[in-house]
């Protein structure tokens, strides 16, 4: 009998989380859709009466995703657990190129939570959903004994439709493609970190929590068909982990330039103070886009024209060498491998 237990690091979004998914969940939930390991599942809807789940022409494809939110504190500069729960699932769906339409919301509430606090969060969810153009169409509420949950946990699931002709996934990136990032990194994770008990230093940090479906729709509208290859939102595990996932899925190498990575001064200062690397710190309103090289300038201009992409930059490219690995050129000109997040940088940040 194994004595191995679940550790907090299993939920970090880094290597242990990946091991848990691959060695336990995939072992039991093995199917071709899940095996894609994308932010959302893209499935074909079988026509009524069909006996098999096969690809069917002229039926819209559906993107489907779910995520749970256990963040502490519930309210933080730049957002709250409700806004995060809407944005997170909207973004997971948008990363497949789909247009998010409907969300579900499940609330696990600890006995004793103030009704006013709950209402504030629910109102924030409604406002965020309206802003993102999605509807919360089904839900569930459970209340557990004091101590069995920490104030409030929210699960959201979402459904969206993939426009005809759109095919975006990690394995479509090719050597030569350009990698763009839609803005500064580390804002969300460092905001939460500095808000947590014991780290009450004043700082102008604010979470970047935002719905990115508009940004993705603009990219799809602007770029020639097929030139937008892959999208990821670098949440838990940060940009480093997202790039590693992309390199693995694409079976190609990724090269990035340290000096090109936008990091807000306050985030950098907080990271220096705590010994953290912004490459591994969570974001909740950023995306990584891999595009065909000839579409890079247009993609950059499109991202920058959107309110959630004003600080977009080109951060690197996909290469043929070192498949599956991410190589960073340091500010001093040396080159080194950037691995996924190992262990845990921040507890419960999403």
């Amino acid at each position: 009998m194994s004595e191995e237990r679940i550790l907090l690091a299993h939920g970090s979004g880094g290597k242990l989380s990946h091991d848990l998914v691959e060695q336990l969940f995939l072992k039991h939930f093995d199917n071709p859709v899940l095996l894609q390991l994308e932010d959302s599942a893209v499935v074909d809807i079988p026509p009524a009466g069909a006996s098999t789940l096969g690809p069917v022409a002229l039926q819209p494809r559906i993107a489907f995703s779910t995520d749970s939110y256990v963040i502490s504190p519930l309210v933080f500069p730049g957002g709250d657990i409700g806004k995060l729960a809407v944005c997170g699932t909207v973004n997971d769906i948008a990363m497949s190129g789909a247009r998010p339409l409907w969300l579900s919301a499940g609330f696990i509430i600890e006995e004793g939570l103030l009704l006013d606090d709950l209402e504030q969060i629910v109102a924030s969810m409604a406002a965020t959903a309206a802003g993102a153009g999605v509807q919360i169409v089904t839900g569930d509420t459970k209340v557990v004994d004091r101590g069995s949950a920490d104030k409030l946990f929210i699960n959201t699931a979402g459904v969206g439709t993939v426009p005809p002709g759109v095919a975006i996934s990690g394995d479509r990136a090719q050597p030569g493609d350009t990698i763009l990032l839609s803005g500064t990194i580390g804002d969300h994770g460092m905001t939460i970190m500095t808000q947590r008990e014991g780290l009450q230093f004043a700082s102008p940090l604010e979470s970047d929590c935002a719905p990115l479906n508009g940004l993705v729709a603009d990219l799809l509208d602007a770029l020639p068909p097929g030139s937008l290859r892959s999208l990821r939102d670098p949440t838990r595990g940060g940009l480093a982990t997202a790039l590693n996932e992309l390199a693995t899925r694409a079976r190609a190498g990724i090269e990035i330039d340290e000096t090109s990575l936008p990091v807000r001064e306050a985030v950098r200062a907080a990271c220096e103070l705590l010994g953290l690397d912004p490459l591994f710190v969570a974001n909740e309103g950023k995306l990584v886009a891999i595009v065909a090289p000839e579409a890079a300038d247009l993609a950059l201009a499109t991202l920058r024209a959107h309110r959630y992409g004003q600080e977009s930059t080109i951060i690197g490219r996909v290469v043929e060498t070192h498949p599956g690995r991410v190589v960073l050129q340091t500010s001093l000109g040396a080159r080194r491998i950037v691995d996924m997040l190992v262990g845990e940088q921040l507890p419960r940040i999403c």
Binding site: R5, I6, L7, L8, A9, K15, L16, D19, E197, G198, L199, G253, E265, R268, A269, E272, L274, G275, T321, H322, R325, V327, T330, S331, L332, G333, A334, R335, R336, I337, D339, V342, G343
Partner: protein
């Protein structure tokens, strides 16, 4: 944080590198005492930028790493005391002891809490007056004063449920122990910047005067380290060993007398058990006997069980600089940051973690 950029300026780095290249003739081996230095060296890829004549070796400057298994087992046994809250800095929680880590103990029900400052530990003690709160005191001269201050604060407040398991260690005696062993020939030492901020650059005078080797006290930015290497190369080539202070924005000759005074009020010198070096005389800090009500070692009689070392793990050798991390047979195979076997793979200051995270060969 513009302040930091000045110490990461690529043009200045190139200048220092060409100064080093121009001066360095004979092959030399330098030891960076601090794990923080090892991390900066690897993170910025400095090893690959330095000329082949300069070999950098990581030293014992990772407090988590040098904590012996016997001490770690004691901390884990403490965490099993009913109602006890064990507070610790983050890295300690993942280090495997003889049988398990504090993280495993936590998952098994022990109340182990991460704190960022001893002030947080005091706060936990104030909020839980009915429960004993122990702070796991691991660190060098850098952290010892803050922990001393926490003990004195607890005394002033009459905070009776707070105590410290003091596993603090002192850096000059460890440096002596490495040099005295004669196991590794060193031509110079990159001195620990944060430690020396407390103890003062004068504390390293024994290196040139007794051992004839130069020391350059360095900060933790790439230019700080390159400047220290350049100073060391100059002193070695000129055969004029001395203490150079390339971290003058933080380090003075005398150090921080207030911090030293606070440390002296709470602690007294004691032998300490170092991973890889065993018991080194006068290299630790024990809580003074008049403060024994804050000394977890006196308060709790726990049985840590027999000490076991993991076969094959060469952390002890890595900490003495006799091997580099990739020379350990477990490195990046059985021992990775996900499933670390030795502490050097766990800690943010551990040499193995630095080599693993930043030092993997870049395929061309």
């Amino acid at each position: 944080m513009k302040y930091v950029d000045e110490f990461r300026d690529p043009a200045l780095a190139r200048k220092l590198l060409s100064r080093i290249e121009g001066r360095s003739r004979r092959p030399i081996r330098l030891m960076e005492f601090c794990g923080g230095h090892t991390h900066a060296i690897m993170r910025y890829g400095l090893r690959s930028l330095l000329p082949p004549t300069v070999d950098l070796r990581s030293g014992p400057g990772c407090p988590v790493c040098v904590t012996a298994n016997a001490d770690l087992d004691r901390a884990i046994a403490l965490s099993q005391v009913p109602d006890l809250i064990l507070t610790t800095f983050g890295d300690m929680i993942r280090v495997p002891g003889s049988r398990e880590s504090l993280q495993d103990a936590k998952a098994g029900g022990a109340d182990v809490r991460l704190v960022y400052s001893t002030l947080d530990a005091l706060q936990i003690a104030r909020k839980n007056p009915a429960r004993p709160v122990v702070f796991l005191g691991v660190g060098f001269e850098t952290t010892a004063p803050t922990i001393a201050a926490a003990i004195l604060q607890a005394q002033a407040e009459g905070l009776e449920n707070f105590s410290v398991l003091s596993l603090h260690k002192l850096t000059p005696p460890a440096t002596r122990a490495i040099l005295d062993s004669g196991e590794i020939a060193l031509d110079g030492i990159i001195g620990p910047g944060h430690v020396t901020t407390i103890i003062g650059a004068d504390a390293w005078e024994f290196l040139p005067s007794e051992y004839g080797i130069p020391v350059a006290v360095a900060g933790f930015e790439p230019l700080d380290i390159l400047r220290a290497v350049a100073d060391l190369v100059d002193m070695i080539e000129d055969k004029e060993p001395a203490v150079s202070n390339s971290y003058a924005r933080s380090v003075s000759q005398q150090g921080n007398p207030t911090a030293m005074e606070v440390m002296g009020r709470a602690f007294e010198g004691s032998p300490a058990d170092w991973r890889g070096m065993g018991i080194v005389p006068a290299s630790g800090l024990a809580i003074r006997s008049e403060l024994e009500q804050f000394d977890a070692d006196c308060l709790y009689d726990v049985d840590p069980g027999p000490t076991k070392e993991h076969r094959g793990c060469r952390c002890g050798d890595v900490l003495r600089g006799t091997v580099t991390p990739p020379e350990c047979p477990l490195f990046a195979k059985a021992c990775t940051p996900v499933r670390p076997i030795g502490p050097c793979m766990v800690s943010a200051e551990g040499a193995c973690a630095a080599y693993y995270q930043f030092g993997q060969d870049v395929p061309s």
